[in-house]
């Protein structure tokens, strides 16, 4: 079966609990837009699709709803949240408040090797855009922000930002699906330059621009 879970590889020293595996699978699906906004999710459907019992599925769903990746539709129904204009505005405010601060701290701590790693990711990101490969674009873009945030050494703030990504992931996919990967400008080059010179203020400024642009893109796309 396609969705089968292999919790233990041949040489895998530790066995991950099933609920963790399920959580990660669903999380990535939401993050990279493999669920459409509004699409209903059923527990029993997932138990069959993933080949596990319902307790792990329930726990993974509980965690994802707590994180805002999924949403309770009142009566015992779970679905991918549909963003309205107000929600997008709130997400934009939160991202603009947090991500520049993380970029500032990342810049203060970034080594040459860190910058090269991020530059490599950004190269792959540009390649994905040129190919029109939406999925790779989403993966690399998330990877860029995640690696950069990790440099900031601020786990709580990073976690908050990760949650925000989960919320607009599905919509980002929809927007890309509409307009393709053209017109996806980013300020990653500015961010990288600021990181390379360990200039926190410049990094924060550039990240603010990148986030503002990204959220504006989503806002426009969803009308």
């Amino acid at each position: 079966m396609a969705g089968q879970i292999s919790a233990k590889a041949a040489t895998d020293p530790i066995r991950l609990p099933a609920h963790v595996v399920v959580y990660r699978q669903l999380r990535d699906r939401v993050l990279f837009g493999e669920f459409e906004p509004g699409q209903p999710v059923t527990i029993q459907g997932l138990t069959e699709a993933l080949g596990v019992g319902m307790t792990p599925v329930r726990e993974a769903l509980r965690r994802l709803t707590a994180e805002g990746a999924l949403e309770f539709l009142g009566n015992r129904r779970i679905a991918v949240p549909v963003l309205d204009a107000k929600a997008i505005e709130e997400l934009a405010i939160a991202r603009k408040a947090l991500e520049p601060e993380l970029a500032r701290r990342a810049a203060q701590r970034a080594t040459q090797a860190d910058v090269m790693l991020l530059a490599e990711i950004d190269r792959r990101l540009d390649a994905a855009i040129r190919r029109g490969d939406v999925h790779s674009y989403l993966v690399e873009n998330h990877s860029f922000h995640a690696e950069l945030n990790a440099l900031a050494q601020a786990p709580i703030l990073t976690e908050m930002v990760d949650r925000l990504s989960l919320r607009f992931g599905p919509s980002l996919r929809v927007v890309c699906g509409q307009f393709g990967t053209r017109n996806l400008p980013d300020r990653h080059k500015d961010v990288l330059a600021a990181l390379a010179s360990n200039d926190g203020d410049a990094a924060a400024e550039a990240m603010l621009g990148d986030v503002a642009q990204g959220m504006e893109q989503i806002r426009q796309g969803l009308i």
Copy 2:
């Protein structure tokens, strides 16, 4: 038994699922410091204490850990997180970034009735401080912020702030336990004045001061 759950009151029209009831109970306990930081929590202990099966308990714990209210200690144990200086700094940054914005929006929307409700809460808060009643102080202080944030009509930002409260709730209790309720200055009066005149900037400014003071209090108390 003391911890028995009464999911349905006499006139309660809807019956809440057990996992929701368990979640709320545990959430309030964390929020108002009835768990000490570092105190271990076991699933089976809770099933016996609360008189429900383990699935609802597991789901409630999964949700609380996702929210940062509880923490997995690698080895099979769940505990209330212990805050270090770095964590407090991050929480302070996040609160100072978000709560003033919520206060600004609340001020733009606050009616006379809203202000009176908040003033009443603040009166009870002052009374609790005079009595030296730590638990009531925590309850009313949280109530003040929660009601104010609700006025802002920004569910995502409000949820983010609620999560932050869950993280420093236990430590706030510890600090109050050390120093009593003396020296608990707040800027709530300034906030109320700003709300009454619908002055968003003033409300944000006052809230920034209140948050900064509160987090500084925690920082000092935990050394």
